[in-house]
């Protein structure tokens, strides 16, 4: 931004300078690369297309959640309900398919349920001035309770057409891509376009940067703030569809504490929790980083699974402190 002044141009060619906005995302990228290199040096069969493909296949649902969460966090809000909405979506899919409804209808109903819960959040937050934390906490309890009302037991999905969709895969070179991965990446792509090339996306950034200023600029703040929660609810329900494809069952206890993974992925991806700064592709990188940690710990074998939590915690700390240093230097 300041590179246009003659002094800076003379000192250094601007093309080599990384815009400060991209620094956190670049940091995430470096960490992810580092993870892969560490894994690669310790295990010779780590840096294989299979491992890389599985990184996407195992975390497709988390990508959808993190994408929706990015919208909410960009406006300075938070959505704690995504894990429960994911579970609700899987339960709806499994139970309706069991009842014999056509797959297309079932998927639409599941996604609409998520959107509806998101709408309820938005109305509570914007219409009644309830804190996002509390409103989505209520939504989290509501969705989880509803899961148990619909189906307390795990239901396996036997529907042929759903299984056909879930089982579809293709090879791009040596990389295996499943339907869930395709959907997750399409969702991320749409989110990228919406955030950067539409009026709604720019309003999201404006609201996060300063709600009063956005309001004074005449932007539709209320509508945008409601819509981001609808987006998050829809993405969470889509995540549920992907999770149902992955596990081919619907269970009320799936996705417990997954909202934390989603938030962690968004933060590690370089989005500031205060809102206004961040990128949806950063969140995707964040999800992949979390996935890489898990894969490495699985590869180590002798390391117990709880190390995952500790490493994620440490990584969160590093990124938050890094962000803090960056924002301090800016001001």
């Amino acid at each position: 931004m300041t590179a246009t002044t003659a002094g800076t141009v003379a000192r250094r060619a601007p093309s080599f300078r990384l815009d400060r906005r991209y620094l956190p995302v670049a940091g995430t990228f470096v960490v992810l690369a580092l993870m892969l290199v560490i894994g690669g040096t310790r295990h010779e069969n780590f840096l294989t297309p299979t491992v890389f493909s599985n990184l996407f296949i195992n975390n497709a649902h988390l990508i959808a959640l993190a994408v929706g969460m990015t919208f909410v966090i960009l406006t300075g809000g938070i959505d704690l309900s995504v894990g429960s909405v994911l579970a609700l979506s899987t339960v709806i899919i499994a139970s309706l398919l069991q009842a014999g409804l056509p797959t297309g209808v079932v998927l639409v109903v599941a996604v609409l349920a998520g959107a509806l819960i998101g709408l309820a959040h938005g109305v509570m937050i914007q219409g009644f001035g309830v804190q996002p934390f509390v409103a989505t906490l209520a939504g989290m309890f509501f969705a989880r309770g509803l899961c148990f009302v619909i189906a307390p037991e795990s239901i396996s999905i036997g529907d042929a057409s759903f299984k056909a969709i879930a089982g579809w895969d293709s090879w791009i070179g040596y990389f295996r891509v499943t339907m869930a991965v395709v959907i997750a990446l399409v969702v991320a792509g749409i989110a990228f376009v919406v955030l950067h090339y539409t009026r709604f996306g720019r309003t999201v950034y404006a609201v996060g940067g300063g709600e009063q200023s956005a309001l004074l600029m005449g932007l539709p703040v209320a509508r945008t703030k409601v819509l981001v929660y609808v987006v998050s609810g829809t993405c969470a329900a889509l995540g549920g569809v992907l999770f149902a494809m992955f596990s081919s069952s619907g269970y009320a206890l799936s996705g417990v504490a997954m909202e934390l993974d989603a938030i962690a992925a968004v933060v590690i991806g370089g989005t500031l929790l205060t809102g206004g700064t961040g990128f949806v592709l950063g969140s995707v990188l964040g999800v992949l980083t979390l996935g890489a940690i898990q894969t490495i710990i699985q590869f180590e074998g002798n390391l117990s699974s709880w190390w995952t939590k500790i490493v994620i915690g440490v990584l969160l700390l590093v990124f938050v402190v890094l962000q803090r240093v960056l924002t301090l230097r800016k001001t």
Binding site: M124, G127, G129, F142, G145, Q212, L273, G313, L316, V320
Partner: protein
């Protein structure tokens, strides 16, 4: 009547009474307390005992929220503290001796204190947002607890340790005495000294209070430390109840319950004014709700649905906009004429005519509004 409705404890108490009534209808003996072997028995006693850890945690949470913060790590601290105490007892030579139990409790409390200090350090010194600063410990803490227990559920037999929760003193379980005594102690320390006012000043406007000479940083740090310590104590009560250190499930979702209790009690998450009595009622509401589900014979899995219902109703009733609408409606009824000229400044000015007999903190509904405008 209008003053009663305005009082900050009105809606939480209504929720509590409604729950008790529902329970009594379903089971007429619900409120009955019997006296046998020098102990009190009955559902109310059970509720108080079950509420003890939550009461301690919600107490710390109220103070943290008053400074505009939040502490998501309390559940993890509960797990760590319980794990450390039980692990120490199980590896010691003499699990039954009071000395061992005392040492175990001391070690667990010191560790919780350190964890609280860590949260405070991140929030005050590094200036990280509270929600994310404590999220770090929330994620890593359970991993640490797992590390302590080695991934197993440690079970021990130690009568003195078990007595910390279920031992009886003057007819009531020890856990009730401990939690209520500490609650009273903190309430007195906060409300009978300037500490409470300084806390609220920090929460309402950190910069202004710093300029006014309030040591906001020290106060915030202290509050996070206290919250960690209280969560650690709650962890001891929880583990003394189950006598098993379950790193995965001890204190799970307790941070959400605690935040709910604080919100139901009428303390806004935006910080500033807080009321501990509200938190106390909020904790009772949640504990009674848990009990209600069993009394009414509903599957415990449906509890979240009821939780959601209560949260939505209480928060909506407390939302400034709904209150404003109530105030406008009341004004119209009183004056008989719906003059729109009076309406705009009604929301803010309504409590002013009765400042003398209104409770000091009952006019705080307006505060969150003002802050939102400032932001």
């Amino acid at each position: 009547m209008r003053q009663a409705v305005r009082h900050h404890l009105f809606w939480p108490v209504v929720a509590l009474v409604a729950l008790v009534v529902a329970n009594t209808v379903a089971r007429p003996s619900f409120l009955a307390v019997s006296f046998a072997d020098g102990h009190l028995f009955g559902a109310p006693v059970d509720i108080l005992r079950a509420a003890a850890p939550l009461l301690l945690i919600a107490l710390g949470m109220t103070l943290v929220i008053a400074t505009r913060g939040i502490d998501l790590s309390v559940g993890a601290v509960v797990a760590v503290s319980g794990a450390v105490a039980l692990e120490y007892i199980s590896t010691s030579a003499n699990p039954e001796s009071p000395g061992t139990v005392f040492a175990a409790v001391a070690i667990a409390l010191v560790l919780s204190l350190v964890l609280g200090l860590w949260n405070g350090f991140l929030v005050t010194v590094l200036g990280i947002q509270p929600i994310i600063a404590t999220l770090i410990l929330m994620t890593a803490g359970r991993g640490v607890a797992m590390l302590i227990t080695g991934g197993f559920i440690t079970t021990v037999n130690s009568a003195p340790y078990k007595g910390l929760n279920s031992g009886y003193l003057l007819g009531l379980p020890a856990a009730v005495w401990i939690s209520v005594a500490i609650f009273a102690l903190v309430a007195v320390a906060v409300r009978r000294t300037a500490l409470g006012m300084l806390l609220e000043a920090t929460g309402i406007n950190p910069a202004a209070s710093r300029l006014a000479g309030v040591r906001s940083r020290t106060i915030t740090w202290t509050v996070y430390t206290a919250c960690g310590l209280l969560a650690g104590l709650a962890g001891i009560l929880v583990s003394a109840d189950t006598m098993a250190a379950d790193a995965n499930n001890a204190g799970i979702f307790v941070e959400l319950d605690a935040i709910l209790a604080v919100v139901i009690g009428g303390t806004a998450l935006s910080g500033g004014k807080f009321n501990l009595s509200g938190t106390f009622v909020g904790v009772l509401v949640i504990a009674t709700l848990d009990r209600t589900v069993t009394v009414l014979g509903i599957s415990p899995h449906v509890t979240p649905l009821f939780m959601a219902l209560v949260v939505v109703v209480v928060t909506l009733l407390q939302s400034p906009r709904v209150r404003e609408r109530f105030a406008v409606a009341a004004l119209r009824r009183r004056t008989g004429t719906a003059t729109p000229v009076v309406v705009p400044d009604d929301g803010a000015a309504a409590p002013v005519p009765v400042p003398a007999d209104a409770a000091p903190s009952s006019s705080d509904e307006n505060l969150p509004d003002e802050k939102e405008v400032v932001r």
